[in-house]
Structure formats: structure tokens, C-alpha cells
Symmetry: C2
Subunit: 410 residues, 2 copies
């Protein structure tokens, strides 16, 4: 259905618009407005009151197209509704974990929300080798609460099916289906990768069992309505201060497999891990930071599991509470799924269209190839061996083993 | 949303109504109308023209309540829309396999469709020990076509997600969730069973691994949008003549696991198999008919698999066609799922609320218990051992083995 009232707002219109939203700024306030998005998918305005640097909000407006796949192509504005509704649901389930939504305008595909100018993008923090002592705790709890409490484990099944319908998100899912699960595994036009790793990429394209396992993981992404997942949970969708963590940008949210979110955050920590193979660093510094990253991965899962088990005790529907063995079985399958999806994410960020700044910021292609090659080896192992994992330390041991083996070969 | 124009039609109104549908009867036709439903869920009118016994139609109107769980409770009229839309989709995919829909009236929750008065309910035919030489062929092909062609294997993923939304069916799914996967596995009020099998039922209630496996199958029913399934595919939802087979009543249709439909038809053939342990029959007759049933089960799967593989070759989306091993892996998992769901269906039809006439028609409770006990043993084995099956003859061998062991114990 055409949305005739939609138009792209100018900075001036934005300032007029915001004054009409009750409770934010007075009619006479002197506002400053700055567009700060990258312009590919959305406009992002920051609006500040001139005499009060404390008072500011973000207006995010979806554009009716996406240039993310290299050419102009129309993209549903409905993602702005999905994003605002997901943010509100996540805030209800895990208060303070996401920016507050002040207002959503369906026709303009626009959301007014909390400004997080005191926070930085987690990925930037990791590239700068910062440490965030509360990050694992916040993210582990966020994952446990948002996944458990939107699943059939906690919700009445009729209510859950209404939410499945509310968050059906076909166009955004297709981007993931293509860019994560399909294109990187053959010589697709959308792919772009460092010419120095061509041999490894071609090995992947010829690896039948790997492609079979990827397709089974894709099948799960296409067909499993396990929980309301964020859908794009990389370290660029997380904003941090030393003490606070906020999850942003859930425009890919839909009912999918829990392990896709857990896997995404693990994979992006591991991509950062791999990048330090290529950055010029003294060895001690590299080792310490890589250890910090692996410890963070372990801690995220450990806290996730603890919180998930607490929720199971306190909030699971009756028929699941007393059932012997289901909780352990569920968590084991979830760990294995998460490793599989982590493997997919690692490979596609090296071979596919969308790369990560962690690796891209290594200027020398030879040094970058070291990190990229390690990411591809780890990614493959995770997909192929996921069903042998029984606990999170199986993952971190595997990473250490693979890293040392690869380093010996250099 | 309240539907203010809905009211329950009388026979007289029905005859006035049908004359307004173009292409069926003339304004002056002398019609005969007979209500022939069981009145629990729906009204079913047959309307015939007085001078032409050839010319007849069925009008099915949903009632706004269901007495199936023992008390009056409101039930969505939306199931009439689901049923008519599923019938039309199935007829498009597998022409002639379902009654033709002539007209659907959303407000009255009413569908005008082809009269199948020359057909009988398959279950009645099986109780009378009839044989239907085309049944396995028709049902195997129906399953393959309806399941494959509504899945992500064949459909564009965006189009498939629209259909998932179109067929979300929370209230009807809840009936299945409760009556098939939950209530039979504890001492629920809805259960009813032959007092003579109480010991076996209590063994089931205390069997932790069995209950774990049932819950995993229930999880699949709750969370897997694999294909548009019929959702209630027992032998009472199939009408036959010697040469023709029609699938009726898809009011439980939704996007769920393929194996649930395949399992339901297999289970209902096996429940009939078990019933012959209790019916008074000369041995040769029993053995021959039971063999016929097992051969039918094998043939359904074999034809299903053949047709599914042909569709894979001809209609699968590009990325699946060339992928080594996925087709075999998919079909193996599907066979195992089907056996698991068959096991659930067999047990719930003996322990739960809704029993099958195949067994219920055995008047002597002791003789009936023989068949019921066999059904429970087979049902448990199917759930517990499903992942050891590699081919359909593993199922039929298991049935023969279990049957002979149980008979020896008598």
C-alpha cells in the first residue's frame, strides 16, 4: 500500500516537527539540528537545545531505499515500525538496555528516541582496544531476557503467534538470507574480498560439507520462530560507556533462531580477535587483549546461561518447569546453534559484501590477510564442528588451538 | 474484532442463500436441504436439486464455539477463512485432490463447496477392511506437492513469509498443542482411556526420556514454519472411492513441520492396524489386512519421496538444486520427524480426549485393550527410536517385531 504522506524531512522541518511532540522541547526553544547518519539506509538527526547541552534527542527516519547491496533498490519503510516496536518491547523486557522511544510516526517512518551521545559504538571501542568491564554482564542478560521472554518457553502460545505476525519482516530477512547464507558461498557479484586470500575463499566455495552445514543453518533462519531476535546483533549495533551498554538499530528484528543473535555478537568479538593478528602491536599487548576478548566471549555465554536458567525457574510455562532434561538439552542445542551462526557471520564478513572496520582498518593487505585467513579458518571450524561442543570453553580452546596452529604456519 | 453480520443459518436461509451464488442453481430450482454435520464445530448442509440428483453442493458454516474439549468454549470463526483459502491453495497445487470451493463468505464464516456424496470417509473404509489401490499414490503425491511447493525449497522467501502470515492460526494450533503434545503425558482432566490400560499409561507419565522427546517434537510444532500443513491429516479427513481420493477439512492448516502431516496419516493407518488385534477375525484375514496396511504405509512414503525428489529437481530454488547432500539429509530428517509425530498421534488417540472409531468400535474392553496396548508400545518406540530410522522399511520391520513380541506375551 502506497504511503502518500511520506516525504524525506529537511533539518528545518525536523526542528518544527520535534516541537510538536509533547514533553520534549518548548515551542520557543532554540534548537540545533545536525544530520549524522551515513545516508545509506536512514537519516539520523541529532537535535539539541542551544542553551542546554543536556537536552537532546535523536530523530531517525527510514529512507525508502537501500544502497547496501551496491545499487539503489527500494526497501520497505515498515522497518521503521519494526524497529520502534522492537525497541519498546526490549525496553519493557530489559529496562534501560535500549534507547528510549519518545514517539513513532508510522507515515513518516520516523522515530524520536533517546540521544546516546555519551556512548560510543562498541566496535570502535574494541578497535581502540578499550575494555568494558560491564559489557559481558549487560549483553548476557539482555540476550537471556529478550530471547527467553519472547519465546514459547515463557509466552502463551497464542500470544506468541500474534507477535510472530507483528514482526514478520520479509525484506530485511532477505538481505540476511542473501548476504550471510548464500552469496559468500559461491562466486557472487556482491562478494568482495582481499585478492590475497582468494585460494582460501575458493576452497570454501568447493567445500561440499561446509556448504551443506551452512544451508542447514540457513534453513533454521528461514523456518524457526524461536524468539524475537534483534537480527543484526554485531558490535556496531551496541553502544557503550565504561559502565553502560545500549543495544540499538533492531530494524532486522523478527522471530528467528536465538542462536543467530548470540552467534553474531560472539563472531564480532572474534573478528576483532582476528584483526589483532594484522595490527602492529607488541606481542604482550596482543596476547592480553586477545585473552580479554576470549574471556568476554566466555563471560557472555556464562551470564547468558545463568540468567536463562533463572528465568526458566521463575518464568517458564508450567509444562516446561518440571520436565527433566529439557533445559539442559535446550541450552546445549542453543550453544551449538550459536557457534554455527557465529561461524557464518565470521566468514561472510571477510568474503561477502559487508566487511568489518576491525579488519578493514589494517592498511597493508598482507597483514590484513593474516587476520582474514584466521577468521575464515575459525569460521569453518565453528560451522563444521559445532555439534561437538558441550560447553563454552570448548569454543575458546578451539580458537586458541587454531590461532597457534595458523601462527606456526606463518 | 466482532463480526456483527454473523448469524447461524437455518435450512431455509441456506436455500435462499445458495440461489444467489451465480452458476449453481436457478432462482426457480426446487431445492432440498439437509444438515448432516455432527454439530460440534460446524454446520454442514447438503443442498440437492429435487429433479436432478446429480446437482448438489455442500455448505459448511463454522460455529463460534467448540465442544470438542468437553465444554462450550468460543472458537474463532477465522478457521473458515483458513479452510477455504487452504482448499484453494491445495487445489492449485494438486488439482482435484480436494473439494472445489465455489464460494466463501467471510462474514458468515461459510464455504460453498463440491459435494462428495459418492465418496466415503477413509477411516470407515479401513474399519470395513476395504482396500483402496490408488490411495497411497494419491496421498503420497498430495503430501509431496503440498509440502514441497509451499516451503522455502520452492517459494521465494518473501512470498513464503506472506503465506506464513496468511495462515497464522493460533486458536486451532492451541487445540493440537494441548491435546496432542501436553495433556496425554500427565494426569490431565481431558484424558480418557480404557481403565484396563491404566498401568501402561502411568508408565508413560513416568517416562522422563519419552516426555523429553515429546517436548522436542512439540517445540518443532510451535516453532517451525517449514510448509503449509493440513494440520489434522488423519483418515477421517480423507474421502475415497475405489479410484479417487479427496482431502477435506483443513481448518487446522498453518505453517508447521512437514512431518506432522506425514506422521498423522501413517499413525492413523497404524491405529487401524492395531485395532485388528481386538476385532474378532480369522487369523489369515487379520494378517493379510495388516500386511496391506503396512504396505500402504511403505507405499505412501516411497511415492512421497519419489515425487519430492522429482519436485526438487524441477522446482527447487537455484541455491538448493546443485547443493550436494542436502536433499538426502532433508529427506532423512523428514522421515525421522514423521515417525516421531506418528508416535505422538498414536499415543494421544488412546490416552487423550479424541479417540479413533477403529479402536472404539471394539466393544469388549479386554479385546480393545489389546489393540490399545500395542498402539502405545509402537507409539513410544517411534518417538524414542525415530533417529535410528534410515528408510521406511525400518518402520515396518519395527512394527512387525513389536507386534509379534506383544502377541507372544498374551
Amino acid at each position: 500500500m502506497a504511503n502518500l504522506n511520506y516525504h524525506i524531512l529537511s533539518e528545518l522541518e525536523t526542528m518544527q516537527y520535534i516541537k510538536k511532540i509533547p514533553g520534549l522541547f518548548s515551542e520557543t526553544a532554540q534548537l540545533i539540528c545536525k544530520e549524522m547518519g551515513d545516508g545509506n539506509l536512514n537519516l539520523v538527526f541529532r537535535i539539541t537545545e542551544q542553551d542546554s547541552s543536556e537536552k537532546s534527542v535523536i530523530i531517525k527516519q527510514a529512507l525508502p531505499y537501500a544502497r547496501v547491496v551496491g545499487e539503489s533498490w527500494p526497501l520497505t519503510l515498515d522497518r521503521a515500525r519494526i524497529e520502534s516496536e522492537a525497541l519498546m518491547m526490549q525496553n519493557g523486557i530489559c529496562p534501560g538496555s535500549v534507547p528510549k522511544v519518545y514517539h513513532h510516526d508510522k507515515e513518516l517512518a520516523l522515530t524520536v528516541m533517546e540521544d546516546l551521545s555519551t556512548h560510543i559504538i562498541m566496535r570502535k571501542g574494541l578497535i581502540a582496544r578499550n575494555r568494558y568491564p560491564y559489557f559481558a554482564k549487560h549483553i548476557g542478560a539482555f540476550l537471556a531476557r529478550t530471547l527467553f521472554l519472547t519465546s514459547d518457553l515463557a509466552l502463551d502460545p497464542e500470544c506468541k503467534k500474534q507477535k510472530v505476525m507483528q514482526f514478520i519482516n520479509p525484506e530485511m530477512c532477505r538481505i540476511t538470507e542473501d548476504l550471510v547464507f548464500t552469496d559468500p558461498y559461491y562466486d557472487a557479484k556482491t562478494n568482495q574480498f582481499n585478492p590475497l586470500i582468494k585460494a582460501v575463499v575458493e576452497e570454501i566455495w568447493g567445500h561440499d560439507r561446509l556448504k551443506l552445514e551452512i544451508t542447514k543453518l540457513k534453513e533454521g533462519f528461514l523456518t524457526r520462530t524461536q524468539a524475537l531476535i534483534h537480527g543484526d546483533f554485531h558490535t556496531g549495533s551496541i553502544m557503550v560507556t565504561e559502565k553502560d551498554t545500549k543495544v540499538i538499530d533492531p530494524e532486522f528484528a523478527f522471530y528467528g533462531p536465538m542462536g543467530f543473535d548470540i552467534g553474531a555478537v560472539i563472531a564480532n568479538l572474534l573478528l576483532n580477535y582476528c584483526s589483532h593478528e594484522g595490527h602492529t602491536l607488541i606481542q604482550k599487548e596482543r596476547i592480553e587483549y586477545q585473552d580479554y576478548l576470549l574471556n568476554t566471549v566466555e563471560k557472555i555465554w556464562t551470564i547468558f546461561e545463568e540468567e536463562f536458567r533463572t528465568l526458566w525457574k521463575e518464568k517458564a510455562r508450567d509444562s516446561y518447569v518440571s520436565l527433566l532434561g529439557y533445559e539442559d538439552d535446550y541450552l546445549l542445542r542453543l550453544l551449538q546453534d550459536s557457534l554455527g551462526y557465529a561461524g557464518c557471520e565470521m566468514m561472510r564478513r571477510v568474503v561477502g559484501l559487508a566487511h568489518v572496520p576491525d579488519l578493514e582498518s589494517i592498511n597493508d593487505p598482507k597483514l590484513r590477510a593474516k587476520g582474514e585467513r584466521l577468521a575464515l579458518v575459525i569460521g569453518q571450524q565453528l560451522v563444521l564442528e559445532r555439534e561437538t561442543a558441550g560447553k563454552i570453553s570448548d569454543l575458546t580452546s578451539l580458537i586458541r588451538k587454531v590461532r597457534n596452529r595458523e601462527a606456526d604456519q606463518d
